[in-house]
Symmetry: C2
């Protein structure tokens, strides 16, 4: 049976990149293919993927702090891609091909337990992504991967990026719920801590290979989350689904 803290929960809001899908393997796979096509040798595509992802927070921070207006994540990814390509000394790939490659973030594979776990959870809860990805990205990903969302929520609905409070609060409000009626599910402490500060419940799901074999962060729960699960099937089991 679920713990007391979650008995009033009606909706589960999911972080997506890293929590639902394996962004690193997906980016490496398509980057390798791009590299082969363009005869790029001696590129460590794992490092390339990590470098691209490392620009994610700094790029969003410029939006969060109001240095630029809200834009869809595709725009931020595309600008970061130019920086990473330059840093890796890669040139000569056409803009249209890079636009297409940039949408690799729409084509990421779910972790093996994700679709089954979500399908079980959906029987009892409203399930929706609460990602910094925009609606079209999350929709394309869900159609391709079979993620059975009830609705597509997230940063675009709030026009604010996590971990700003208004992002969580606006999405909870879109569901006609109060914060304790929603539980954020994520593999990242900073996301869960921000959600909890807004009054949401929090479930930590470990994804110990998100950053590859040498991952050193987010391996264990660091505070008293409402639920700690090893994967989405374990989460469903613990929630009585």
């Amino acid at each position: 049976m679920p713990a007391d803290g979650v008995k009033h929960v009606k909706a589960l809001l999911f972080d997506v990149f890293g929590t639902c899908v394996d962004w690193r393997s997906g980016v490496i796979r398509e980057a390798e293919a791009l590299g082969r096509k363009h005869g790029l040798r001696d590129v460590d595509w794992g490092k390339f993927a990590d470098a691209w992802r490392a620009l994610y927070q700094p790029q969003m921070e410029r939006v969060r702090t109001g240095q630029r207006p809200w834009v869809k994540l595709d725009i931020l990814h595309r600008e970061s891609l130019e920086i990473v390509l330059r840093d890796f000394g890669i040139s000569g790939i056409g803009a249209a091909e890079l636009d297409e490659f940039n949408r690799v973030w729409h084509r990421l594979d779910p972790w093996p337990d994700a679709v089954e776990g979500l399908a079980r959870l959906k029987g009892k809860y409203v399930i929706a992504p609460n990602s910094n990805g925009h609606i079209a990205l999350l929709l394309h990903m869900a159609k391709r991967a079979g993620l059975p969302w009830d609705a597509i929520l997230g940063a675009e609905v709030a026009r604010a990026y996590k971990p700003l409070p208004e992002e969580y609060l606006r999405n909870v409000e879109a569901l006609d719920l109060t914060p304790p009626e929603a539980m954020m599910v994520a593999a990242h402490h900073h996301d869960l801590d921000a959600a909890r500060a807004c009054g949401l419940r929090a479930a930590f799901v470990a994804r110990p290979r998100e950053f590859g074999l040498e991952q050193a962060v987010d391996l264990l729960p660091q505070s008293a989350y409402d639920v700690v699960a090893s994967d989405f099937i374990d989460l469903a089991r613990q929630l009585g689904c």
Copy 2:
């Protein structure tokens, strides 16, 4: 095979009240139950439902014209309900019970062809509601009725009510599409005409019993829509799904 005009369509946006679900029968059913509970005799609940629905456009018009800020449809329905109750001479029902009755709009049944038709269309297209209903309303309706939406779009995403152009254009933009890549599906000429004025494609699906047995409007297509279908299964067939 689909007509030329629709071959670039990637997403179908659906009007909901009247097009996907039978609002009139649903409202009558719950109003009758409420009437029995409170011993209300001699009320024509069909007329009551029609009177409630008749306030829909005038209430939204105050938002569209900027006389009041955007609010969720539940708020407008609730205010209209007070007016209709007064006009019908009904009093003495508690606020909490009326709040619950007001959410009858979340609990409407789909037309018999809707779920099967949408499931078929979903295999080829992105399908989403583009309704003046808010996200939670559409989500509750979909969970209850089994409407298999890919995403929940509509007035709340745009913070504008149809038929304002920004409502259609913002929802198309949320899908990363251009207007001709989206087709509005509706049983109402005014909705389709507004969508077409924004560049969207248009499919008319006749719902000749939406307003009851004496319906006199929206019975036939009145202009050259891209598709004219008798129901959602016919729509799926015509679109090659």
